[in-house]
């Protein structure tokens, strides 16, 4: 098994590189061939995109494609050009407003808004790339039609093409709308934010009142050289990154293992009313997470109910006597001192996360490979052996990819950290305080506060890009280790 996986893994890697390289090469050579070898009709498509089809008497298609082309040209001239011309500077006209006290009317000049210029330029560039790709594709299609017509092969007319949209090419119909959505909600925002990392968009340069502009790699240099916005920014970045990784590992594995243990416990022999137990745990996650987290934060306040109970029960004094608490502490700093807070956050995360994991683990165990278990049993393997030799590897194989996504999700686990520590935790590391960070911050919560409270969009974007790179690298490496590639085929027999 293992050997086979290793082999496929290597194959996958080699394929991936080669595939991409060859794909790109072919993409352009095909276009070149079409231009060089096509006849007048195909070549006319270079200017009037529908020409190739019209030459093959496919008028409807040809006209449609030409209309698309004209529409794009209009959009480009009317929408894109005004923004793209300012893209290089991100605007030069500062906003000015004058108020006339006698008429009580305000007049505003025709100012530039750097942020809008950036967004709309990105949209324009994106449209441009899409159009160019479509343009190249169209050339190839025109050439293919030419060849097909010449060879006397059947050429689809527009009705047949439409029929294909629910047949062979159904995937196009399926993917179009979701893709537009993803472009709007994910791709464009990411492009915009990557761009912001190269600008000086911060509190001193906030549109609409002021302009911002390109600064190259300055922000990245600032992060590395510790010069940043404060002297300790580099220090804070390393600290926060460290805790982010520790947290992600702890949160992922505690929940994973805890979920399995709980599932096994509930499903083990001798436990009555399994359904009831499961439901009890599920109730804890039925309350929306932000409600429970705020609730728990107040539950564990320094002067909160848990502390009162602990003090009354003598637990506080007990902790003092064993040195877990300083002598002058009259409460347990559950969420307010570094060590306690980190432990509590992980524990509370277990509290919110395990019920989910328990449900998943229950299901995974249900689907365990019965044939292997049986044969092991027939061979007389003991329960312990079966557990370690079959069940554990099985769980790891099925749950592996989920573990990776969980890890990434935990790196970006905004809710748990923000809701538990915001307004509650005060750092005692003065160097962190000087950079508006806290020991318990994840990179995402830190960057959220940098944008939300300090409007430092440029540094937040830099941090965001770094988080993104970490996640992507981690995932690529671990997926290639864990996944044998093309697994879906195995299941679809």
């Amino acid at each position: 098994m293992a050997k086979k996986r290793k082999q496929t893994e290597e194959v996958v890697k080699r394929d991936l590189l080669k595939e991409v390289g060859e794909g790109i090469k072919k993409y352009f050579t095909d276009f070149g061939t079409a231009v060089n070898k096509g006849d007048w009709g195909t070549r006319a498509s270079l200017i009037v995109m529908g020409a190739g089809f019209i030459a093959r008497k496919q008028f409807a298609k040809g006209i449609l494609i030409t209309l698309v082309q004209i529409m794009y040209f209009i959009v480009f001239a009317v929408y894109s050009v005004p923004y793209l011309t300012k893209f290089g500077t991100l605007g030069t006209v500062q906003m000015e407003q004058t108020f006339d006290p006698v008429t009580m009317q305000q007049t505003t000049n025709n100012y530039d808004n750097s942020f809008l210029i950036l967004i709309h330029s990105m949209i324009s560039l994106f449209l441009l790339v899409v159009f160019v790709m479509y343009y190249i594709h169209n050339m190839k299609a025109a050439y293919k039609v030419e060849k097909d017509a010449w060879a006397g092969r059947h050429v689809n007319n527009i009705l047949e093409d439409i029929a294909d949209m629910v047949g062979k090419k159904f995937y196009i119909s399926l993917l179009t709308l979701p893709t537009i959505g993803i472009v709007l909600m994910n791709i464009l925002p990411i492009l915009v934010l990557v761009a912001i990392a190269f600008t000086n968009y911060d509190q001193n340069h906030m549109p609409p009142a002021s302009l911002f502009t390109w600064v190259g790699f300055d922000n990245f240099k600032a992060l590395i050289s510790s010069g940043g916005m404060t002297i300790t920014f580099g220090y804070a970045f390393r600290k926060v990154l460290g805790w982010t990784l520790v947290w992600a590992v702890l949160a992922t594995f505690t929940n994973f293992i805890g979920g399995i243990v709980l599932a096994v416990l509930i499903n083990s022999k001798g436990v009555k009313l399994k359904k009831m137990w499961r439901s009890l745990f599920v109730i804890a996650i039925a309350v929306p997470q932000f409600v429970t987290l705020i609730l728990v934060r107040n539950f564990f306040r320094d002067d909160g109910i848990v502390n009162t109970l602990c003090a009354n029960a003598g637990i506080t004094d007990f902790f003092k006597s064993i040195g877990l608490l300083g002598a002058n502490m009259n409460f347990i700093p559950f969420l307010t001192s570094k060590g306690w807070a980190k432990v509590m956050i992980v524990l509370i995360n277990i509290w919110v996360g395990i019920p989910y994991q328990m449900l998943i683990a229950t299901g995974v165990l249900m689907n365990a490979p019965q044939d292997q278990l049986e044969s092991a049993r027939i061979d007389g393997a003991s329960h312990t052996q079966i557990f370690w030799k079959i069940t554990v590897p099985y769980i790891l194989v099925v749950q592996g990819p989920a573990l990776i996504t969980d890890f990434v999700r935990n790196i970006n686990n905004f809710n748990v950290i923000y809701l538990l520590t915001q307004d509650v935790y005060t750092t005692t590391d003065q160097m962190l305080a000087n950079s508006n960070a806290k020991e318990v911050d994840l990179l995402v919560t830190w960057l959220f506060r940098l944008t939300n409270e300090y409007y430092n969009y440029k540094m937040a974007s830099v941090i965001g890009i770094i988080v993104f790179i970490i996640c992507v690298l981690f995932t690529l490496v671990s997926y290639s280790k864990l996944m044998a590639g093309g697994r879906e085929e195995d299941y679809q027999i």
Binding site: F99, M104, N328, M329, N330, D429, Q430, N434, N452, E453
Partner: protein
């Protein structure tokens, strides 16, 4: 145009010193309550501001022009704090009634004064047309172009009818940018009369002694830079934390002179177990109500809750003195105001200005005091007997003498908060106190992003 606001001589500090930036979690709960009941001693609080900018009185025809020019429905959004909703809605209704010839559609939204800046700056063009905010946010708001200059006054004289300090607080670079609403955004001492006598509360040492004997505690939000300031910048220490001449960075010298003595004094008080670090406003007030704390340092926004809970035992006074290195110092405080601003991106700037004026005129300020006990910034409203008789307002007036206007840059809050947290925990790591102060000062005075 000739009647535009003219900046009279402004002290150099005023010109530059208004870069106050306050993060949302640092600002005191902006519920707002009264400050100077006695505007006369206001000068004591703001020694640097000798003169105040004047807002020109506009032509009487202006409002008429505006009414004549308004043909469509005037759609406005007003943001007031959650506690102020009912009152503000009343005032809006009255405002609408004043102009029967104009159609209004004024919507009231909720936004706490302490977080107004965050909500406005995330997108000034989408923010409310008229909004209330705490004065420490004014520089950020002006820099972001989110405040309309008060170029002229229409219904009352904004600069003369309000206490000088409040107008100064609304002024940036010689221009007035907001309408003073309350003059009470500072802090003072609340105490339980059944525990302390009026003599006890004069000195913190005595208070600690008495409270210790009565088995209660004194709550102070040490891990809040806003309150911590009261210790370090106490009268006679020569320690300061203020905005530097560039209007962005801070100058702070808490690590010099008697700074170490003061830090040690705080540690000493904390060590008694009687003087404790309160987690936040909510818990301070709640513990005061429950009787766990016999005294807390807080602002007028908590007055109603505390007086209701303590009844006859309710007391309020200026902050006590404390002892550091054998010397006794009077605790200082920040003096703050709540203001109403107009969004320059509003489609109806003229109407927004009229509404902002209405919400801050004498009548409205009196109504605000009556409804919520908030200390008026309006001179006449503040000098009425009922206002002066209010214990919380009297206390903040008494404290005004020792208060400093809040002019401080954004880098102050986190480092000072961290310092307070360490001191409040009794310096558990045993770090050298001088080092603690040096670190904090380094952060407070850190340069603000250069590029």
């Amino acid at each position: 145009m000739k009647k535009r606001a003219i900046a009279l001589a402004m002290s150099a500090i005023m010109m530059t010193a208004t870069m106050a930036a306050c993060t949302s979690q640092e600002t005191p709960p902006a519920a707002g309550a009264p400050t100077e009941a006695a505007p006369e001693n206001n000068t004591g609080a703001e020694p640097t501001e000798a003169e105040v900018v004047e807002v020109a009185k506009a032509d009487d025809s202006a409002v008429g022009n505006l009414i004549a020019a308004t043909t469509d429905t005037v759609k406005l959004v007003v943001w007031a704090s959650e506690e102020d909703q009912e009152l503000t809605q009343d005032l809006i209704n009255k405002f609408e009634a004043q102009y029967p010839e104009v159609k209004f559609d004024i919507q009231l939204g909720a936004c706490s004064e302490s977080t107004a800046k965050d909500n406005v700056l995330s997108d000034p063009t989408a923010a409310a047309d008229v909004f209330a905010f705490a004065d420490d946010q004014i520089n950020d708001l002006v820099n972001a172009g989110a405040l309309q200059e008060v170029a002229a006054a229409y219904t009352y004289d904004v600069s003369k009818e309000n206490v000088a300090g409040s107008v100064a607080a609304a002024t940036v670079n010689g221009k007035v940018y907001a309408y003073p609403m309350t003059a009470d955004n500072g802090y003072f001492l609340y105490y339980n009369k059944s525990v302390f006598s009026e003599d006890d509360i004069k000195s913190l040492d005595k208070m600690v002694e008495v409270a210790g004997a009565a088995d209660t505690q004194i709550g102070f939000e040490l891990a809040n830079a806003w309150y911590l300031f009261g210790f370090f910048s106490a009268q006679g220490t020569d320690l300061y934390a203020r905005l530097a001449a560039d209007g962005v960075t801070n100058e702070c010298n808490w690590n010099e002179g008697v700074g170490v003595d003061i830090a040690n004094a705080i540690l000493g008080y904390v060590d008694t177990g009687v003087f404790v670090k309160a987690a936040d406003d909510a818990s301070a007030v709640s513990n005061m109500k429950d009787g766990k704390y016999a005294a807390i340092v807080n602002g007028t926004w908590s007055a109603a809750a505390i007086s209701e809970a303590l009844g006859d035992d309710y007391g309020a006074a200026k902050l006590p003195t404390f002892t550091a290195g054998d010397k006794e110092y009077q605790m200082s405080s920040f003096a703050g105001y709540k203001l109403i601003g107009v969004n320059p991106h509003s489609a109806y700037v003229g109407w927004s200005m009229l509404l902002a004026e209405y919400l801050t005129n004498e009548e409205s300020q009196v109504a605000r005091f009556e409804a919520r006990g908030l200390g008026p910034a309006n001179i006449k409203a503040a000098s009425s007997e009922t206002v002066k008789a209010d214990p919380a307002i009297a206390a903040i007036a008494a404290q005004a003498e020792y208060a400093t206007p809040q002019r401080i840059g954004g880098n102050f809050w986190d480092p000072a908060k961290s310092l307070g947290e360490i001191l409040g925990n009794g310096n558990p790591d045993g770090t050298d106190v001088q080092t603690l102060l040096d670190n904090a000062v380094e952060g407070i005075n850190a340069p603000v992003s250069a590029n």
